[in-house]
């Protein structure tokens, strides 16, 4: 298994992922309780909150890179279909940009999460600060 790269080595255009995980009821309840939702939709139904996927970009990134210290500064999510409990999700994407602003170094990830049937779950663009300069 190849040694993982560090955050500082990230290059625009690098592919990230695929990262695979199976949606469990525990994950659905975790996401619902994290956001303090009390709705029976998630304790009795078969779908999970789409917010379950809000950290998918970092899971895909960690396939190839060490996580390091990063601060999440921006999230842009298009929720296309809710995740279904029991289905496997596959996250993949690219490092879409790397830029410096006021002496600070930022990375931008674009990812798509699909389920095992090819259904798109979420398209995301996330920006993280990786160095305070």
């Amino acid at each position: 298994m190849a040694e993982k790269l560090n955050l500082e080595d990230a290059k625009v255009g690098d592919a990230i992922g695929p990262y695979r995980y199976r949606v469990t009821r525990e994950m659905a309840e975790f996401a619902a309780s994290r956001e303090m939702m009390g709705t029976p939709l998630y304790s009795e139904g078969s779908i999970a909150p789409s917010t379950l996927t809000d950290n998918d970009y970092s899971l895909a990134f960690m396939v190839k890179y060490n996580p390091g210290e990063a601060i999440h500064t921006k999230a842009d999510n298009q929720y296309l279909n809710p995740p279904i409990i029991g289905k496997e999700l596959i996250v993949s994407g690219t490092i879409a940009d790397r830029f410096e602003k006021r002496g600070r170094d930022f990375l931008v990830f674009e990812t798509t999460t699909r389920d095992e049937d090819g259904r798109e779950i979420v398209r995301s663009k996330n920006t993280v600060l990786i160095s305070m300069g």
């Binding site: 995980y21 921006k74 999230a75 842009d76 999510n77 809710p82």
Partner: protein, 146 residues
């Protein structure tokens, strides 16, 4: 409470949503993510350890951005139901830290479509403020018009 299409005119405010975020929720969010996704356990950091958080000058553990963003998502789900689940778009910038014990209020107002905004959708400006009125998230959302 699903909002009717007729209400969705520019200037209309969705009913605000207020929640207090606890230290336990922030720590369990950080730890739960590790255990459920099989990630390596993180050492002490600002999300799971009060002393580490205080070392950077904040009152208590700091919520990850997505924890706070989830409040906006819930408000939009309440307002738009299935339309939100299948096609909702939420864009958030995290502008201030959220600590355990903070009371957060989500607000969203329907706005006129601007340049680059897709047609056939309802566009909203969204913010989340803490108990002192400081914005912690600013953003926008959109959903199919119906």
């Amino acid at each position: 409470m699903t909002v009717s299409a007729g209400e969705l005119v520019p200037g209309f405010s969705l009913p605000p949503l207020t929640r207090t975020i606890t230290v336990e929720q922030i720590v369990s969010s950080s730890r739960g993510r590790e255990s459920l996704w099989g990630l390596p356990a993180a050492g002490k950091n600002i999300h799971n350890d009060t002393e580490t958080a205080r070392s950077i000058g904040v009152r208590d553990v700091v919520a990850g951005g997505v924890v706070t963003m989830g409040l906006g998502w819930e408000m939009l789900l309440d307002a738009f139901g299935e339309r939100w689940l299948k096609g909702g778009q939420l864009s958030c910038t995290f502008v201030n830290m959220v600590c355990g014990g903070d009371e957060l209020t989500v607000k969203a107002v329907v706005k006129e479509p601007g340049e680059g905004d897709a047609e056939g959708r309802v566009h909203l400006e969204l913010s989340i403020e803490n108990q002192e009125g400081a914005k912690v998230i600013v953003g926008k959302a959109s959903v199919a018009a119906g």
